[in-house]
């Protein structure tokens, strides 16, 4: 009996609590729809600045505006979604209410038997409990009310901070854009400057090139001129040298011809002289030969050689004669080694004197100085 009682009691509490929650949710949902503070206009301040690249800025501005528009639309969408969500929640609640009511009705039908049995008792406890629960409920509701307020306050504060942050971000973004713009401007200017410098450099190089080309042409010209001059001079020199060589060659040829003529003349003269000399020499030689034989015969006749002369003995004498054939001198050119043999030869020459002498002076001259060789056989 007691157990049934507890179970009834718990089921009753649970139902009660569920009702309470539904009530509270209904209250909160009504409050939030009534105060839509979120839709604040984001006012974007456009900074006036000297626009160098109108298009770029305009593009940037358009971008910004587009972004803001998108943000606004997103915010509106979000609000719509929130409202939808609220409606969904209310519908859910209504559905849960209906389910709960169905379930309650079924439970009421079961319980009505038992409750009627313990009605009296439970009625009394319930009265007591109801008193206390009411008190507790009031206290909890107060507490809940306070927590809800605190939550709303925190949420508002967060919302404010978020907006501020958004503003700050927008300002930063603006500054950033501005900075970007400046940077872009500076970059443009830098590029412009670089372009200018590059142009100047190009022009300078161009100028230098031009000058170098000029110099080259000048040098080429000079070189050409110098070469022409050298060529001209070389040609002159060559011609002069040729002329000189020709002159010299002609002179040499002349001299050579003269020399050859002279040589030929001389040769002829010499030949004639030589022939004459040869004729003379032959004649003289003939006379000399003839007188040599006569001299030989005569000296031989006077030569008394030592009777025991060895056959190997031989003495060579040099004899000079006086004109007329007398002996001027006799000297031993090469001794036989045997003094008696040598002396016999010397004596033979002396004894044979005067030696036959030709009347021809040249032949006589040839026979004035000659040699004898004496040998036994």
């Amino acid at each position: 009996m007691k157990k049934a009682f507890v179970e009834n009691f718990l089921a009753g509490s649970y139902s009660l609590l569920l009702h309470l929650v539904l009530v509270v949710l209904l209250v909160i949902g009504l409050e939030s729809t009534s105060t839509p503070e979120l839709a604040s206009d984001p006012s974007v301040e456009i900074v006036q600045a000297t626009v160098l690249d109108e298009n770029l800025v305009e593009r940037e501005m358009a971008k910004l505006e587009e972004r803001e528009k998108q943000e606004r639309e997103a915010e509106q969408e979000r609000q719509l979604k929130l409202e939808e969500k609220l409606e969904q929640t209310q519908e859910e609640l209504a559905r849960q209410e209906r389910e709960y009511l169905d379930m309650q009705e079924r439970a009421e039908l079961d319980k009505k038997q038992r409750e009627k049995e313990a009605e009296a008792e439970r009625q009394r406890i319930k009265e007591l409990e109801k008193q206390r629960e009411l008190e507790e409920q009031k206290r909890l509701e107060a507490e809940k009310q306070r927590q809800l307020e605190e939550q709303r306050r925190q949420e508002a504060e967060a919302e404010r901070k978020r907006i501020e942050e958004q503003k700050r971000q927008a300002e930063l973004e603006r500054q950033r854009i501005e900075e970007q713009k400046q940077k872009a401007e500076a970059e443009r200017q830098r590029i412009e400057e670089e372009k200018r410098k590059a142009e100047a450099e190009r022009q300078r190089i161009e100028e230098e090139k031009r000058k170098a080309e000029q110099e080259r042409k000048r040098l080429e010209e000079e070189k050409r001129k110098a070469e022409e001059e050298a060529k001209r001079r070389a040609e002159e020199e060559r011609q002069r040298a040729e002329a000189e060589a020709k002159r010299k060659a002609e002179e040499a040829a002349k001299r050579k011809a003269e020399a050859e003529r002279q040589a030929a003349e001389d040769a002829l003269q010499r030949q004639l002289e030589q022939e004459q000399q040869e004729r003379d020499a032959r004649r003289v030689q003939g006379v000399v030969d003839q007188y040599s034989i006569m001299i030989k015969q005569r000296v031989k006749r006077y030569w008394i050689r030592p009777s025991n002369s060895e056959s190997g003995l031989q003495v060579t004498l040099r004899v000079t004669l006086l004109p007329g054939g007398d002996v001027k001198s006799v000297s031993i050119v090469k001794s036989s080694g045997n003094p008696v043999f040598d002396r016999s030869a010397e004596s033979a020459v002396y004894k044979a004197a005067p030696l036959p002498q030709p009347s021809d002076p040249k032949a006589a001259e040839a026979l004035r100085d000659f040699q004898f060789i004496f040998k036994p056989e």
Binding site: K300, W303, I304, S307, A366
Partner: protein, 432 residues
């Protein structure tokens, strides 16, 4: 370029005067071996006249050698006796090979001073000159010495004019008996001195190499004996008196031995006697023949001898120690009495031609024989010590005389003038 060179060379050749062609040379071959004309001027005399005509002796000596032809005295242009008196040109005209002048002077007629000078008249230079002091008895000998000097100066060979001859003379006494003498004369046959006399035959004198001794055969004891006699002292002794024949002694070149012919064993054989010991060794052994007339070869190892072992006398050669003899002569049927030249190359011998005995020489190397004499009874040839002459004995009017012939046969002469028959001459060696 090359052509220019040729031209240049040709020009140079043309310009260079040819050196007087290689000196003309005339070759004289042959010549003659005629006697050398020499002018011998009679020596001048100062003081006592010498008993000998020195220049005449010299002239004869030189002429006898056959190597000199002294000019006739009447051809002498002048009579210089000293060098400074000589006009060489005069003598050149006479074409004499030499000029000999000199003079003899004596204060007492006993001692004489002799000087001579030999000149080459063409070079006008003195070849030799000497001065001597001799007693009168030495004048002839001195003359021969001077002749030797002249001879040697002009021929290059030693003269033999101072050498001597030994020979045997035979004289008949009035009663018909004979007298024999061993004589020694000058080389010209003059001035003979008797060293031994005997009534019995003396034979085969032979000079010892020292020229101081003679060996000979004497029959003085009625038998043949071999004696050795010293000339200066006359001392003599018998060295071989064996039974039978003791003959034909021949001195060995060293003078220590005699080769002899002995028949002590029946048949005449050649023996060698050693003089100092008297040892006798037999050289030949041929009982059927006569072996005799030994002569030593100059080498002292071989002996030449005559033998009729072949039937007729021929000359053989045998070792002095004995052994087999070999025949040396083949030309003619009679060859005997050999002598050998000092150089050992030429052998002289008696060579019979048609029964006539001549002196001939045979070249021992070639075997060629040359007859030197035209006399008909020649015997005992003996070489002069210089080998230029051969002394021999021959017959003149049936009487033996001395003669000499040059080895070339050109000079033949009689030597000496004695009244006795001369036989078996021997020419001495050079004086030592």
């Amino acid at each position: 370029m090359l052509r220019q060179w040729f031209k240049l060379v040709a020009l140079l050749i043309a310009l260079v005067p040819w050196p007087a062609q290689a000196v003309l040379t005339i070759e004289i071959t042959g010549g003659s071996e005629a006697a050398l004309p020499i002018a011998i001027v009679p020596f001048g005399v100062e003081g006592y006249a010498p008993p000998e005509d020195i220049s005449e002796i010299i002239s004869n000596d030189l002429a006898s050698s056959g190597r000199f032809a002294p000019l006739d005295k009447q051809d002498l242009i002048s009579q210089p006796h000293e060098g400074q008196q000589v006009n060489f040109q005069d003598w050149r005209l006479l074409r004499s090979e030499g000029l000999l002048i000199g003079k003899v002077s004596s204060q007492d007629g006993q001692n004489f001073q002799v000087q001579f000078q030999l000149f080459d008249v063409y070079k006008a230079e003195q070849l030799v000159g000497k001065r001597y002091n001799v007693p009168a008895s030495g004048l002839r000998s001195l003359a021969h010495q001077i002749a030797d000097v002249v001879y040697e100066t002009l021929t290059g060979e030693k003269g033999v004019f101072s050498t001597r001859l030994a020979f045997v003379t035979e004289m008949k006494n009035a009663d018909g008996s004979k007298r024999y003498a061993l004589q020694v004369s000058d080389a010209d046959g003059a001035n003979p001195r008797t060293v031994l006399q005997s009534t019995q035959p003396i034979m085969s004198p032979n000079w010892a190499p020292d020229g101081e001794r003679l060996a000979y055969v004497s029959f003085e004891n009625a038998k043949s004996e071999v004696y050795v006699q010293e000339l200066s002292s006359g001392r003599r002794n018998s060295v071989a008196s064996f039974r039978g024949l003791n003959s034909a002694p021949a001195w060995s070149p060293d003078g220590k031995k005699l080769a002899l012919t002995l028949s002590k064993n029946g048949n005449p054989e050649i023996y060698v006697l050693e003089l100092a010991s008297g040892n006798l060794s037999r050289v030949t052994h041929n009982s059927g023949a006569i072996d005799t007339e030994a002569v030593w070869m100059p080498n002292g190892r071989e002996i030449l001898f005559t033998s009729d072992r072949g039937g007729r006398p021929q000359i053989y050669r045998v070792d002095a120690d004995g052994g087999r003899a070999e025949r040396v002569t083949f030309e003619g049927s009679y060859n005997a009495s050999a002598d050998i030249s000092p150089d050992g190359k030429t052998m002289a011998m008696v060579h019979a031609v048609n029964g006539k005995f001549h002196i001939a020489i045979q070249d021992l190397q070639t075997g060629a024989v040359q007859v030197l004499t035209d006399t008909t009874a020649d015997e005992s040839p003996s070489f002069a010590p210089n080998g230029r002459m051969i002394l021999y004995a021959t017959e003149q009017k049936g009487r033996g005389v001395l003669a000499a012939v040059s080895v070339d046969g050109r000079i033949k002469q009689r030597l000496g003038e004695s009244g006795s028959a001369v036989r078996e001459p021997a020419w001495s060696p050079f004086r030592r």
